[in-house]
């Protein structure tokens, strides 16, 4: 909301704070001023001058040399290129030497200096409105009305609203009163402890009544069919007006506040809205047919609104109608048919209180957010209807002439009056943690418009909030008023005695452990969106989404993921297109799947409601590119890199408590379709599947536009979660006291023999003495026959209670080699 410093001062003349000071005061009272700018800064330096004569420029057709009267007998000649220099006697605006025009030169600003214009020196410039920063219009120089001011008068004195300071205030949804300058002036009065008086209603009414031009009840009838939607409908009328442009002082006030000037009568309604924060509407009374009906629209009824759009109404829309058809969308926007136009002479002003929810629904339904709906949604002051109407009549008479019709029409249901609120001193002090002066607190609340109900004691008081503060409903609301006006920053800091609680859910620590483990394994963490497109899931051969979004920002973010991989694959794709060939990324996040009814049946009932879907925390990782090497040609990553990482990730994430194994996985089974069938594997521990890993299926690579092999890993953290909480521990084994002996054996086997089977057999044969069997070399080619592989194992022998003799070791090792020969037909090397 833009707010005018000058406007506030007109309403609160006692205010002496500077714009900057007031800005800070507002901000620290909860009306955050996000910007403070000067409107019409040049108006202070520029002066009103009268044209004395003009003559052509000696060389340039389009330029004129204009002699102007600066007042006090001074004259000056300036070069001017505008086509609209008035005849002698006309008033224009001169920027004298040294004047700074911040808005001139296309917004870059300029300072007036003596300059030559096509050979003729000019000491100043006649200004347009846009050069003065008063409007966007650059059509010629500003020509002022005759007799506006004496030559030599500063523009800011001639037209006060041509210079102002404008606050950009972020008004929170609870403070509709601050959406008008009356509310801001009242707030300033409370903050600076100044007396504040509303513009006198009696004075305004007297002024209008004196010029009665008939009785309003004779020209229009008002019927409110939906009192809940419109608890108060007020109207006043004026006849004999002359619709034309508003005077400059009004136009600049509106311009400063970002409102376009339409015509004097329409501007009246905007001035009232900016003043009271209470939107109103002006109808051409002659186009109403003498009837105003406030009702719900019939479904399908049409209304052409002032923005030129024909709208099809919903049965929920509250409308203002004449006898037959809607003429305005209540609280949102007027209709074109009853619009005030150049020929309008009789005007009906509407000022109403509409139900905030109803207005909000209509505005949202029609995708409209207007100055009016913004205010009605938040709750306008139901108590100022008469005053706003009276103000509108008075302003109209000042700007457009005419005679007000006698009386006003008010159709009102019982609006609940604000109820008195009990405020207790001890509760206030306890909540704020500081003791405020009680009398000062009460007086502050009174300045904000509350009235003390009954008698206040030293310990408690009953206060009735004003109608313009719909946010004051309970004692905490009053306490907040005291805190914010006294300065919330004055509350001391004191650490509370916190009684320790216990984690609920337990994912945070597990996620941290997994993150730590993954990072220690050389993976970098990505954060991916929880929503993606249905195609992304299909492309990754993931289950279709269980949850879709009704109102996504884009189809690419329209369903909730069932897998983490698509997001990572997209990241890898982007990275590779940017020339980053190596990526090892992981992410921890949730997937959203149908609730597992069986599992839920075992869980206790959550009084806040069961989680709507099962949110499974998972980890996914992708590997692409080359393995780091040292001063050698790097090698491409392969499936064993991801296997090693997978097993180690489980071990590290569980602090060595869990040992995972990898098993080949039939890629046709559910959950593995995204993997290359040759390398699909699942990660097992304690008889349960923790996840899967392997090379990505070429179909998936293609779908994600990936050209290099990608290896992926997915781990379901839910599978790790419960058992980890069950007091798992590492159990110490005694350190061996007797030496070990190692023997190597190399065996040549057919290619289809699995290395794991060879190791297992060696381990079996080594029996109780075999402490460790490790594959340390794998070799093909050379002297190894076609279709065969040489596997070299190292077997470490050790006995727990004695030192083994060479003979014992040799004997056992012979058994191992013979066993391998028997089992695999292997030739020893």
């Amino acid at each position: 909301m833009k707010a005018s410093y000058a406007f506030i001062r007109e309403l609160l003349p006692a205010l002496t704070a500077s714009p900057r000071e007031l800005s800070d005061a507002f901000t620290f009272a909860g009306l955050e001023v996000e910007g403070l700018s000067e409107f019409g800064a040049a108006s202070v330096e520029c002066v009103v001058v009268a044209v004395l004569s003009k003559r052509p420029h000696p060389t340039k057709d389009k330029l004129a040399l204009v002699t102007v009267d600066l007042g006090e007998g001074k004259t000056q000649e300036v070069v001017c290129g505008a086509p609209n220099v008035p005849e002698p006697g006309g008033l224009v605006v001169l920027a004298p030497l040294g004047a700074h025009l911040p808005a001139a030169a296309g917004g870059k600003g300029m300072t007036m200096a003596r300059r030559d214009v096509a050979g003729v020196p000019s000491e100043g410039m006649l200004c347009s409105e846009s050069e003065l920063g008063l409007s966007d219009s650059g059509e010629g120089i500003l020509v002022l009305p005759a007799n506006l001011a004496d030559p030599g008068t500063r523009l800011s004195d001639a037209i006060p609203s041509s210079h102002d300071h404008v606050f950009e205030i972020n008004v929170t949804a609870n403070r509709p009163d601050a959406l008008g300058h009356v509310g801001l002036a009242r707030e300033a009065a409370a903050l600076y402890d100044l007396p504040f008086a509303m513009p006198s209603l009696a004075a305004v009414l007297a002024e209008t009544a004196g010029a009665a031009g008939g009785v309003i009840g004779d020209v229009v009838r008002i019927q409110v069919e939906d009192a809940a939607g419109c608890p108060h409908y007020g109207a006043a009328a004026i006849t004999g007006v002359s619709v034309h442009a508003s005077p400059l002082n009004v136009r600049y006030r509106l311009a400063a506040l970002g409102v376009r000037s339409i015509s004097n009568v329409v501007d009246v309604t905007n001035l009232a809205m900016l003043g009271y924060g209470h939107p109103m509407h002006a109808f051409d009374l002659d186009r109403l047919g003498g009837m105003i009906v406030v009702r719900r629209a019939k479904a399908g009824e049409k209304l052409a609104t002032l923005d030129g759009v024909e709208r099809t109404l919903d049965a929920g829309d509250l409308v203002i109608a004449d006898a037959e058809k809607p003429i305005a969308l209540a609280g949102v926007m007027g209709g074109a048919t009853t619009e005030v136009h150049a020929g309008t002479t009789r005007v009906l002003f509407e000022c109403a209180y509409f139900d905030p929810r109803s207005v909000r629904r209509s505005a949202r339904r029609h995708g409209m957010h207007t100055e009016a709906s913004h205010r009605f949604e938040r709750g306008v002051d139901p108590g100022d209807v008469e005053e706003v109407l009276a103000h509108a009549l008075a302003t109209t008479r000042a700007l457009a002439g005419g005679k007000a019709l006698d009386g006003m029409l008010h159709v009102r249901a019982d609006m609940p009056r604000p109820q008195p609120i009990k405020l207790q001193r001890v509760k206030m002090d306890r909540l704020l943690g500081v003791s405020h002066d009680w009398q000062a607190a009460l007086s502050l609340l009174e300045r904000l418009g509350c009235t003390v109900h009954g008698t206040a004691t030293d310990d408690e008081a009953e206060l009735r909030p004003p109608t313009h503060r719909p946010d004051l409903l309970r004692s905490v609301d009053l306490i907040e008023e005291v805190a914010r006006v006294r300065g919330i920053d004055s509350i001391p800091a004191e650490l509370p005695p916190i009684r320790a609680s216990r984690d609920v859910g337990g994912r945070e620590e597990l996620e941290r452990e997994v993150r730590e483990a993954a990072v220690s394994l050389g993976l970098s963490e990505a954060v991916t969106f929880a929503f993606l497109s249905p195609e992304d899931l299909a492309n990754a051969k993931a289950p279709p989404a269980f949850v879709g979004l009704k109102n996504p920002l884009a189809v690419t973010q329209s369903v909730m993921r069932t897998r983490l991989l698509p997001g990572l694959l997209q990241a890898v794709g982007r990275a590779r297109r940017h020339g980053v060939k190596d990526a090892r990324l992981f992410t921890i996040g949730r997937t959203y799947v149908a609730p597992d009814a069986a599992a839920r049946a075992k869980e206790p009932v959550d009084p806040a409601g069961a989680w709507p879907v099962d949110e499974r925390t998972s980890v996914a990782a992708v590997f692409v590119g080359e393995r780091p090497s040292w001063l050698q040609k790097p090698e491409s990553l392969d499936v064993w890199d991801v296997k090693g990482t997978a097993l180690e990730l489980v071990a590290r994430a569980t602090r060595g408590v869990w040992t995972a194994t990898a098993e080949r996985l039939d890629a046709t089974v559910e959950g593995a379709a995204h993997l290359h069938p040759r390398g699909a594997a699942r990660l097992m521990a304690r008889g349960r599947q923790l996840g899967t890993f392997g090379p990505l299926h070429p179909d998936v690579l293609e779908a994600f536009d990936l050209t290099a092999p990608v290896f992926v890993l997915e781990l379901d953290l839910e599978a790790l979660r419960a058992p980890l909480e069950a007091a798992d521990r590492v159990v110490y084994k005694p350190i061996p006291r007797f030496p070990a002996s190692a023997r190597d054996v190399a065996v040549v086997v057919k290619d289809d023999v699995l290395a794991g089977a060879v190791v297992d057999e060696a381990r079996r044969a080594a029996g109780d003495l075999g402490q460790e069997v490790a594959l340390f070399d794998r070799f093909t080619g050379g002297s190894i026959p076609e279709g065969h592989t040489s596997l070299a194992l190292r077997v470490v022998y050790r006995a727990a209670a004695r030192t083994l003799t060479d003979a014992e070791v040799d004997a056992r090792h012979t058994e191992v080699t013979q066993a391998l020969q028997r089992a695999f037909g292997g030739q020893l090397r």
Binding site: V476, D489, V504, E508, V547, L585, A608
Partner: protein
């Protein structure tokens, strides 16, 4: 002098020079073997002893052993000398080329900046006695709004334009717009007193340089008897000091959030232009004000307590919440929130 004595004398005279002449360990060992080996010179002399009469044998044997000991000592000494020479030569050799890259089996992994901030903030609150409370990201409307005092169709929900889910049979649900749903869940599920934090992903229909449709918040709340706004300030000050260093001032500005009353926004003294004397120079991060806004807070609204079945006459509480992206953007000078979800390895590797 017997021929044996002569031979021993010759050998004694010769071996030091022969050892000294050996320039390598192998040469020395060979030379040693020539003297002491099975077919060595001293062994040969020993064999000659058999020809001696018994009475001389013993004396000669002693002489042989004496010489053997001398040879062994000479050998050891020369061996040590050679080893020392070798070590001296090694020490004096040209230095290694340490400009070659270091060798590391694995590249370094990097935590996401949001995670770094999250872990730091979680740790700070844990140290103050808070526990972590989990909750759903797809939430019932009532826990996201009504129980937190957002009236239906209230403009306050404009601040939190929501993603609504298609009906899947779970009632009216949405992607939570804040982590405050955890307040509702904690209050419904537990009896006070408690102190929880709730970090996690939240979702709003916004997408620009400073807004992401998915971002992260961390909420902290305490409910107990006698909790005051001074306590809130105490926790805020402590938090600011622990996250941004000693002497970090905290400033409250009244503001409005439906679920707190009084509510405030919190500025902390800019950590990026702090001078040694504690004043702040003003910088681009704080837009030259010396203050940066990092969170919102307030005393839990009695309506929230009532909605969640807690007696507001008995219990009071405070809540505070911050956007982790905002903290991270300030901390790491990141100017576009979208970098956090683009996951460019060149971005991630910087953290």
């Amino acid at each position: 002098m017997s021929s044996i004595d002569q031979a021993l004398a010759d050998l004694r005279a010769a071996f030091p020079a022969r050892f000294a002449a050996a320039e390598t360990e192998q040469a020395l060992r060979d030379e040693n073997a020539k003297i002491l080996g099975k077919k060595g010179e001293l062994t040969a002399i020993l064999k000659e002893m058999g020809k001696l009469p018994n009475e001389e044998r013993r004396a000669t044997g002693e002489k042989v052993n004496l010489l053997k000991a001398e040879v062994e000592k000479g050998f050891e000494a020369r061996l040590a000398e050679l080893a020392k020479g070798k070590r001296d030569a090694d020490l004096a050799a040209p230095p290694f080329d340490l400009t070659l890259p270091g060798r590391l089996a694995l590249p370094r992994g990097h935590k996401h900046p949001i995670s770094r901030v999250r872990e730091d903030v979680v740790a700070i609150f844990r140290q103050m006695g808070f526990a972590v409370h989990d909750g759903p990201e797809i939430e019932l409307e009532t826990n996201n709004f009504e129980r937190l005092g957002f009236p239906p169709d209230h403009p306050a929900t404009d601040m939190q334009d929501s993603f609504w889910t298609e009906d899947f049979g779970g009632g009216r649900t949405l992607l939570r717009t804040h982590t405050s749903n955890i307040q509702a869940r904690a209050m419904m599920g537990q009896k006070p007193p408690f102190a929880f934090i709730a970090p996690g992903a939240v979702f709003r229909r916004d997408d620009d340089v400073t807004h992401s449709p998915m971002f992260h918040q961390l909420e902290a709340f305490v409910v107990d008897r006698g909790v005051s706004m001074a306590h809130l300030r105490g926790v805020l000050s402590e938090f600011a000091v622990r996250l941004y260093g000693p002497d970090t001032p905290v400033r409250l500005r009244p503001s409005y959030f439906p679920f707190v009353e009084p509510g405030a926004e919190v500025d902390i003294g800019c950590a990026f232009c702090k001078r040694p004397d504690g004043t702040r120079a003003g910088c681009n991060v704080c837009k030259h004000t010396g203050w940066i806004e990092i969170l919102g807070c307030g005393m839990i609204h009695p309506v929230v307590f009532e909605q969640c079945g807690i007696d507001p006459e008995e219990f009071t509480g405070f809540a505070l919440g911050m956007g982790l992206e905002r903290v991270a953007m300030l901390r790491y000078d990141v100017d576009d929130i979208r970098l956090f979800t683009e996951n460019d390895p060149r971005f991630l590797e910087q953290f």
